[in-house]
Symmetry: C4
């Protein structure tokens, strides 16, 4: 551990973001056509490891279905606009029309509406009836309140996602979610996070998570660092959590928890970087918000963007670059890393000489300031 | 101590600013509602540790009262516009109307007016009569001249603030302030600074200070580095002074000096960062100059901005983002770290798993370039 | 090797680009008139070590001849516009007229045309008949298909250039190029690359290469890092490959492989930096695309810029600064490092006190962030 | 020595510029009125250590006299416009009117005129008759040719200044200047440079220099790094040369060579930084080119800016901020570090607790990225 002295008696660790690192080819190369991008969690197989984040700017029931048909997993936010509004399209329209100065207040208003349990059930059923792997996300705070509806409606994967989720939440008022007990009793696999450290991740793994989300749920629109002063750069966070996976695999006698990098993907190359640091899959938001079909209509915001008293995500304008299919599978018609994400991952693996995602986790990396 | 060789025979220490560090959550989380932001100095209790700096753009007698009612401490500059001008509002108006090229000269003129002792007494009495904790600041050079008026008018806390204050000022012309003797004889607790190193802080603590200001009194408008070449990045300075606090606590058999970070707070997250480095409280200027009630009318300047021959602070334009109440207590209507400072601090503590300021000083940090 | 911990269990090496380093003069100086910039590969001598890259924006049959007459080596891309189009000038015109948004698609279309073997032969013969050192480049994928035509037409130097070329390409469909066998059987010296590591370079040297290209073939227009996440900063890559050259020289009992830095040259000073890291010669693209005679007509793009599904090079606008002669031999009429490249190299050597390229490889360097 | 591995077998030293460092106050403070900025070289005393560089944009015979009367040393370029043109004002006018694209060519033309030996003598006599310390600069190449005229006309200090000057210049055509013999025979003290390393400086000291210039003679307009790839960041260069001074003082039994930092001063704080690294005096160009009286008329260029084939300095526009007197002695009417250089130096010393330049060389510094 590279420790730095900030001042007498206060030491810090140097931590790295994806943009500070790069992959180094090995002495071998491969054909892009002959590498595998497959990803599996629990009993579910996917053609690629790129997961659509539960952002209302990316995943609607409709786009979840499209994205699933393109081979990936898409997660619907179960406490977002689709479960608070009968007609979220009107709300999305309003958000996309708001001026930069006003947009946070427009979000605050939109997310102030109460969750309608019946809508929540309907949305999940809509996914289920499309025959896709059905996945929905709740925050830790609302999980206890709504999980029965969610399970009842038939999700395949249950995601508990907050900016920081710990297995040891201390509260004296009300009873906090006992994560271990909760996961144990649930019939479906649970993915839980964000977490950003070895210890926090290990505790989530011990609580029985099928996958852990690494990051703070903010992604490219997040302002957690400026608002809270809290940040763990993604390359370091993913590598630490991958180490927890290895240690938990040993202590549990063989339980392999999926490490899902959640945040910090600005271009297709960042997907390969996340895997190089040890991720099994990568959750992306803004990259998919650039799709012509994206509900955000050229805008993207994190789930904390509408917090009533302390919003922690900006609403950013994103260029619409092509369809979901073009963004994921190409062909790319520009060279800026916004399109053909799976083709790019495939070629990263081929260029570096690796044949699947698990192998790519071993690739050598450099720090390049 | 990480030492770097600049060249043969000249070594330097690497030092860090708040924007190079970030807080790392522990494995525990808490509810924001259940953490305490209380701060105490001597016999005075405050709901939060954010102190309004003695900048004329921030603290007038009137705003000192408002800010105190919001739970914090506000310090009036006793050698600023309010003690030099019967009607400072006219002067403030003129400053806010000056062109960027002219504004330093307008400040020089405004601060060239003589201090009127009677006004100084009146301003302090105005604060006192409002029933708030009354605090006023003088520079070391003028302390000897005016302290009797200040004490006589009834301050609760006496602040001696200069860009660099040492307990060992060498002068052959005139007699410099003997800080130890002065503090000993004064009836009120004294906060003194800026200082930026372990040694300088330790000497101020030994001189009897109730609190030391860490920094150079320049803050976000300061140009000390470009004008004088002098700078100690804040994260390092606070950590060093916190180490002096620990050592002085031991050598004095239990005297705990408050370490007050003074400068470098650009967004709400920096408050948590200052505490993470060891601060007990944080003095802010530009953050509060963004209030609609701020005397600066959308402008902010450091106390050195009006120096007659060597001004060392620019006058910067700041956006008015909301009321003092919104800036300190929220709700925030933007996600850029300019509002709901106390709510943000509360959530930083909760996210990282700590329950009060003293605990938060122990949080792990990373360096993130 | 300076290793950095990215996170638990994932280490990385710190790597450096040319813009992070600089040459340090020794205690001796020389006259620029008295240093030699000569370069030799196999039986071919050149007045200077600056090689024109096989970019269609730089090297046409016509400019290859001009550039050779100015003392250097120019490489024609044998799978570029000149072998796909009877009249490439029309295509180049179209590229130069395309809007930034459209230009990648225009390139994709232009490079989608089939290679015409007869044209390939004609272009090589055109070079040959001019009496210059004739050099042409193919990618690894097309080498097996067209090498007979190329050799038959009479190249002096055969260049195999791809973004990453390894001596150990793994493929199950079709038979990959057996580089060692291929080079052994060819009658002409082969330059091969890009490669970026000690191991990959050593394998290429063992395969019999007369020279290896260091880099990813992308140069200043390349987006390999953002699209694939793959990058090895050039100063580190060149130094590593130079180390492979030394070790191979020993293990082979005296075979000296030319190390050719390919990419990262943004100004004339970068040529000296590449040599300082251990390069024997430097391949440049954008620097020569700035010539008034350049086929790119003020634009430059890498060979991957027209890839049908995953373009990995932008088309960048470059200012036309002067003729090839002025860019290489001066006089310079600006001080920005875009002209008189050989004069600048000469003066770098003189200022630092070295008399030829081999000596300049020993110059001391500093890292300057 | 902090060594970094660039790649296998190529190591580099980390080097620092003034803008990466800052001064740290000691535990003592002083009154600015009670510190001394005096500087002495050979038998000449100056009120301050800021030397006007031999730039035609700064020093004319007339401004040399003004600057000397303000307490400092000013060096006239004896191979610049004043010795090549009867009426340089016309030429300066033309330079100031040239467009950015054309200005290098205008300089090249202006400096292509032959030096008129008679003018050279006249200019020196003009300085001498004003009763100031008369100092003129020649490049190493022209020193042998013109030194007799220069000495005959009566300079007090002879400056030999080139981008890199070594005591061991290797040349086979013509006989290079034998610096040691030359300095020994001359009747006046010689200042020589630029140099940037311990070894090169030590050799210049052994050759008998009264002072050495540290840097490459380029200053803020210099493009040596981009054109030649050559650079030694100033903080490191000054510290190294100061170490040579200490060692030479010992080996010579007491000869103290003045170390003069030449380049890298962008604001008044950089003067204190140069001294903190070990400089005895600081040569400045662009800072004084900002004077209303400066011959450059709002423009500044290095002496290499007019090189006929390889110009290595841009012509930069500088704001006119005030008179020479205001720039050196204040009062400053802005806080950006462009005015009251001596007052700022005085206050740096006072703030840090030192009483003269020699003491300030001991000040603690930090690296602040």
């Amino acid at each position: 551990m590279t420790e730095i002295e900030i001042g007498r008696g206060k030491r810090a660790r140097e931590a790295f973001d994806f943009d500070q690192i790069a992959l180094v080819p090995s002495r071998r190369t491969r054909d892009p056509e002959e590498v595998s991008t497959n990803w599996r969690i629990d009993a579910f197989d996917f053609a690629h490891p790129v997961i659509a984040a539960p952002n209302d700017s990316v995943v609607s029931p409709e786009t979840a279905i499209s994205l699933s048909k393109l081979g990936g997993l898409a997660v619907l936010n179960l406490e977002g606009l689709w479960t608070r509004h009968e007609n979220p399209e009107k709300v999305l329209e309003k958000i996309s029309k708001a001026s930069p100065d006003q947009v946070t207040q427009v979000l605050q208003e939109a997310y102030a509406a109460e969750i309608i349990p019946q809508l929540l059930v309907e949305r999940v059923k809509q996914l289920r009836s499309a025959g896709i792997v059905t996945a929905g996300a709740l925050s830790p705070r609302l999980t206890a309140k709504y999980f029965k509806e969610v399970i009842g409606a038939g999700v395949d994967l249950f995601i508990i996602r907050g900016s920081t989720v710990s297995a040891e939440h201390v509260a004296t008022i009300g009873e906090p979610l006992n994560l271990k007990k909760f996961i144990y009793e649930l019939e479906v696999p649970v993915i839980v996070g964000g977490c950003a450290t070895y210890q926090a991740a290990l505790h989530l793994m011990r609580a029985g998570a099928a996958g852990v989300l690494v990051g703070f749920g903010g992604g490219s629109s997040g302002t957690t660092k400026s608002v809270l002063g809290v940040k763990v750069p993604m390359a370091t966070a993913v590598a630490d959590v991958a180490a927890a996976r290895r240690d938990y695999l040993d202590e549990s006698g063989g339980r392999y928890t999926q490490v899902i990098s959640d945040g910090g993907v600005h271009s297709t190359g960042d997907i390969a970087k996340a895997i190089a640091c040890g991720a099994d899959a990568v959750m992306v938001g803004s990259m998919l918000a650039k799709a012509t079909e994206a509900p955000g209509r050229g805008y993207h915001w994190g789930v904390e963007g509408g917090h009533p008293t302390l919003p922690r995500a900006s609403t950013i304008h994103v260029d619409s670059v092509g369809s979901f299919s073009e963004i994921l599978q190409g062909p790319a018609i520009s060279a800026n890393g916004s399109m053909n994400a799976i083709g790019a991952l495939r070629r990263s693996m081929a260029t570096c000489g690796y044949s699947d995602i698990k192998e790519l986790q071993r690739v050598e990396i450099v720090v390049s300031q």
